[in-house]
């Protein structure tokens, strides 16, 4: 019993990061109708840059955080301008292939950054320690991460509701042709969504790098986040957040109960099994919009 509660709390913290990643996917899909597989690799770059700032160049945390975010933003602008802009008129297959190749491209860059040390550097660079509340063993990093995630998502929600740019992005989400006819600069909106998504992804990368160690294994979490996004529905933020948390909890439960039964490391498998189930039963996800095809 105690273990389940512990797993439950640990799951929520992890889930926070997954929902953050899921949100980064939704931000781009909703406005540009292109699913960004590449964010999984942006995760790795975020982790490495943070590692360089803190460990290699011994910078304070807040400066490291700033550098990582700005690096994410620059990467977002570069991707959108160099590749995505030219693919607007192409059939749906072209963006999928480009984002997939981007994922591998960024992984290659990741290997170069990490100087081949595939496993990454292991020691966590954020304050270590754990709080003992009753029988629960809550590592400090997890809570810090969870708080940061909820804060970020809240900020994002406010950004969408209140600011003018947020409003513009919500219009583009509905229909970019209509938005263009209304005089909105759709290209800049695309750029904003890529920037935001990459910043979030690099922050998530920083956090995950801290927990699981900075290395190429991080993009496995990216794929788990894909399962989360699909579970919640591609077009809704709320769905992504809830699904992220659920996946986090589910993953923790499987580690405790199901892992010993199945051979090999199953943390990766369960989300994909879930993904297949979702696709079979409810293809458009819990909160997604079912499209009516006109003939």
């Amino acid at each position: 019993m105690e273990e389940t509660l512990n797993a439950f709390v640990f799951g929520i913290c992890n889930g926070g990061i997954y929902s953050l990643l899921a949100v980064s996917y939704v931000v781009i899909y909703k406005s540009t109708r292109v699913f960004p597989f590449s964010q999984a690799a942006v995760l790795i770059l975020g982790a490495y840059i943070m590692w360089y700032c803190l460990i290699a160049w011994h910078l304070p945390i807040w400066l490291g955080f700033l550098i990582t975010c700005s690096a994410g933003a620059i990467l977002g602008i570069f991707i959108e301008r160099a590749f995505m802009r030219r693919l607007v008129g192409q059939p749906i297959l072209a963006p999928i292939v480009v984002t997939l190749c981007l994922m591998l491209l960024l992984r290659g860059v990741g290997i170069l950054l990490g100087k081949g040390n595939i496993q990454g550097f292991g020691e966590s660079f954020l304050p270590v320690g754990a709080w003992k509340i009753g029988f629960l063993h809550i590592p400090e990093i997890q809570v810090f991460g969870f708080v940061l995630c909820t804060g970020l998502i809240g900020a994002l929600m406010l950004f969408y509701e209140k600011t003018r740019v947020g409003l513009a992005m919500r219009i583009v989400h509905e229909d970019h042709v209509m938005a263009q006819s209304l005089g909105l600069n759709v290209r800049r909106v695309f750029q904003y969504s890529w920037v935001i998504s990459c910043v979030i992804a690099s922050i998530a990368g920083m956090l995950l790098g801290n927990i699981q160690g900075v290395g190429l294994g991080l993009d496995a979490n990216g794929l788990v986040a894909i399962a989360a996004v699909l579970f919640g529905g591609l077009e809704s933020f709320a769905g992504a957040i809830i699904a992220g948390l659920a996946i986090g909890i589910l993953q923790m439960l499987t580690i405790i109960y199901i892992a010993p039964l199945l051979p090999g490391e199953t943390t990766m498998m369960i989300p994909f099994i879930l993904l297949l189930l979702v696709l079979f039963l409810k293809p458009y996800g819990l909160f997604g919009l079912t499209r009516i095809e006109r003939l």
């Binding site: 693919l87 190749c101 992984r107 290659g108 993904l275 696709l279 003939l295």
Partner: protein, 355 residues
């Protein structure tokens, strides 16, 4: 005045069989035989290294043909094609390890097992389209890789499985690389023949109908579900055969050989080759293998540049190198080499007129 530029002046068809012929005039039949003959003479011109490249190109072209049928002709995106090739390899490996069957007995099975599994993963294609199907095939890829790497008792887990070369047939001993190349080449020619016929018959038209306008196809009497499942089945059959032939060449196979990046390269280099044409699949496979060789040349360069241990440099460079090639092609030449070749052929045939 719309003249049929595919036929030289003076050839007319007396029946529909002649009308359907691709190589209609004696000159074109001679060119075809010349092409095939030269393919069979190649190994005598190159050393063993050349033969290995050619064999792998042929094996990969069969795999590419499979993906062309699924994605190029039927429009269903499959990001798990390398996994099905893996199943083909492991089927042969397992059968030879546990049941001691000869390679010849395993080959058809190496096609059928991925075909059945492919059909299984084709089922979600009935209700979902486009992006969602890509997710399903991605998930399929991971599930397959997980099963293979963890079913230790049967697949010998992550440390791979031995596959031995096919036994001698009509006195030809296939352990020699050159003879094995002939076997793979003959298989490729047969597969190209099957794929070309497929695209010209009833199912081929149904595939293109589903790709172009599946709503209208449904109302026009084409059973969409049946067609999509068949597309996945045949595509994975081709992948299985390609896996068996490719794996038997190295005589050892491991899970690392068909990871997620292999599936992505399959799709990417199909884009480079060109969708919707047999020539596109073969061109894609050829470009992929040539890029392989080029990236191995890159490593010494990388050493001078990075100075560090080069072992990771070749892996990183190959990733970056391939990705850039595919993206450049997608942005500047979205319809691939096959389309460019079509344009050149058309310009020659129209010479000296512009249209």
């Amino acid at each position: 005045m719309s003249i049929n530029i595919d036929r030289p002046c003076g050839t007319f068809d007396r029946n529909y069989f002649q009308a359907k012929e691709i190589f209609r005039t004696p000159l074109r039949k001679a060119l075809l035989i010349l092409l095939l003959g030269s393919m069979y003479l190649l190994p005598y011109l190159t050393n063993d290294y050349g033969i290995s490249i050619l064999t792998i190109i042929c094996a990969y072209s069969i795999g590419m043909l499979g993906l062309q049928i699924i994605t190029g002709y039927c429009g269903q995106i499959s990001i798990g094609h390398a996994a099905f090739m893996g199943i083909g390899m492991y089927t042969v490996g397992i059968l030879q390890r546990h049941f001691g069957l000869s390679f010849w007995a395993c080959l058809p099975l190496a096609g059928l097992v991925p075909m059945l599994i492919g059909m299984l993963f084709g089922i979600p294609a009935l209700r979902i389209k486009g992006l969602y199907l890509a997710f399903a095939t991605l998930a399929a890829h991971f599930v397959i890789v997980y099963v293979i790497s963890n079913w230790r008792s049967v697949t010998n887990g992550t440390d791979g499985i031995r596959m031995n070369r096919p036994g001698p047939l009509w006195g030809i001993d296939f352990s020699a690389d050159r003879n094995y190349y002939f076997l793979v080449l003959t298989a490729t020619v047969l597969m190209v023949y099957l794929a070309t016929n497929l695209t010209r018959t009833k199912l081929g038209r149904a595939l293109v109908a589903v790709r172009d306008n599946d709503i209208a196809a449904e109302v026009m009497g084409i059973n969409i579900a049946h067609t999509k499942i068949l597309a996945f089945g045949i595509g994975c059959f081709f992948a299985g055969i390609a896996g068996a032939l490719g794996g038997a060449y190295y005589e050892y196979v491991n899970v690392e050989w068909f990871g997620l990046d292999d599936s992505i390269w399959f799709l990417g280099f199909l884009v480079v080759g060109g969708f919707g044409s047999i020539f596109g699949a073969i061109a894609g496979a050829a470009v992929w293998k040539i890029m392989d060789e080029l990236s191995t040349l890159v490593t010494p360069l990388a050493e001078t540049f990075l100075g560090g241990a080069a072992f990771y440099a070749s892996a990183a460079f190959s990733l970056v190198f391939y990705a850039l090639i595919i993206i450049i092609f997608l942005v500047f030449e979205p319809r691939g080499i096959a389309h460019r070749w079509q344009m050149i052929k058309r310009s020659y045939r129209l010479h000296p007129f512009p249209y």
